[in-house]
Symmetry: C2
Subunit: 212 residues, 2 copies
């Protein structure tokens, strides 16, 4: 299968990769011209794959988010408690876009970012919670808490926009994570338990470095 | 003073008002042409007051938010408990943009909306909390709770984007308010007290109708 990647897919991937490089370099104009020049493809080839710049922004967010979630899940499953995975997952999620130029780019596309992020992470997060429920992981966490989460999660997703802005201003990851934990009522757990899980998550996650 | 409103200010106000009407009518193209036609002014007059369409979107959000906050504060000060004013204030804030076409427009401009909304409401909300603190209003509410609010409020502002989307889909105001109340940890008050204040706020506020 992998040997037979079509040329058209290669060009499309090259366009996405070039756009990502331009974003990471910062201060670069993101246009059809700069993307195709960077990719070494013809200007017109862009419109064979994308309707417009908005669409390629959207696909790039989807692509980066998928890659990063894949990486994160591979790490998270090493943690025994599924509920703790859920908390560490949020820490990872915040860390994933801490590259300054990436956060600036994301903050300009809040609607894409929010829709993509919720779409890509919702199922994984819920699976961890479901597993926690079924495995007698943390007795205080019950079906009621899972229902609470499902009811309010879409409000919480939007706080990611503030997280991105705090990252842009250089605030340390750990501080942002704990502010976020205090700002939301993720699972409606007792406050002490919520903080205990968050602090444990910080301990586990803070060794990680995230590569873009 | 009011008698001497300059003609240029009148034209500017007329452009804003025309844009608002186009938004409320829905399904209308918002362009320099449609705005100036609606206002009965020359096409070129637009660019005497605004750099581009983005700027007039921004000013319209500011203008509408200011009007609505003015209306809300006049009502809120009739409530004796300043802490309860704070809770009712959030209910009002949600109700203010429930006109379907307005929410659709706002959801397309999340960055403007968020910046404007926080800018315009922050001082009022904090003043209510400060007054609550100084007046022995609710004993459980202390300086620590106020500090909590100031630390996390910018995360909470973003949940307004989800509120707008729930409004767009026709969910009842009261239900959205209670979801919002459950999704965030506004003041870090004991959970029962938080819900008690929210339910009292619903009782006080649910008689209101909001005019656009």
């Amino acid at each position: 299968m992998t040997e037979k990647i079509k040329k058209s897919d290669q060009t499309k991937a090259k366009l996405l990769e070039s756009m990502w490089k331009l974003i990471l370099e910062g201060d670069k104009v993101i246009s059809v011209k700069t993307i195709t020049t960077k990719a070494g493809t013809a200007y017109g080839s862009f419109y064979r794959y994308y309707k417009n710049l908005d669409q390629v922004h959207k696909e790039l967010i989807q692509y980066r988010a998928s890659l990063l979630v894949e990486f994160a899940v591979a790490e998270l499953v090493k943690i025994e408690s599924p509920l703790l995975r859920f908390y560490v997952g949020y820490y990872f999620a915040i860390g994933m876009f801490q590259q300054e130029n990436a956060t600036q780019w994301l903050s300009k596309h809040p609607n894409f970012m929010n829709a993509t992020w919720s779409e890509i992470t919702e199922a994984t997060a819920q699976a961890f919670l479901q597993e926690s429920l079924e495995s007698d992981d943390v007795p205080e966490f019950t079906q009621k808490n899972l229902d609470h989460y499902v009811r309010i999660r879409r409000y919480v997703f939007w706080t990611y926009q503030q997280i991105i802005r705090e990252l842009s201003e250089g605030k340390p990851l750990q501080e942002i994570y704990l502010e976020f934990i205090d700002a939301v009522n993720l699972l409606d757990l007792p406050r002490d338990l919520h903080h205990q899980l968050a602090n444990e998550a910080v301990r586990i996650a803070s060794d990680f470095t995230f590569e873009n």
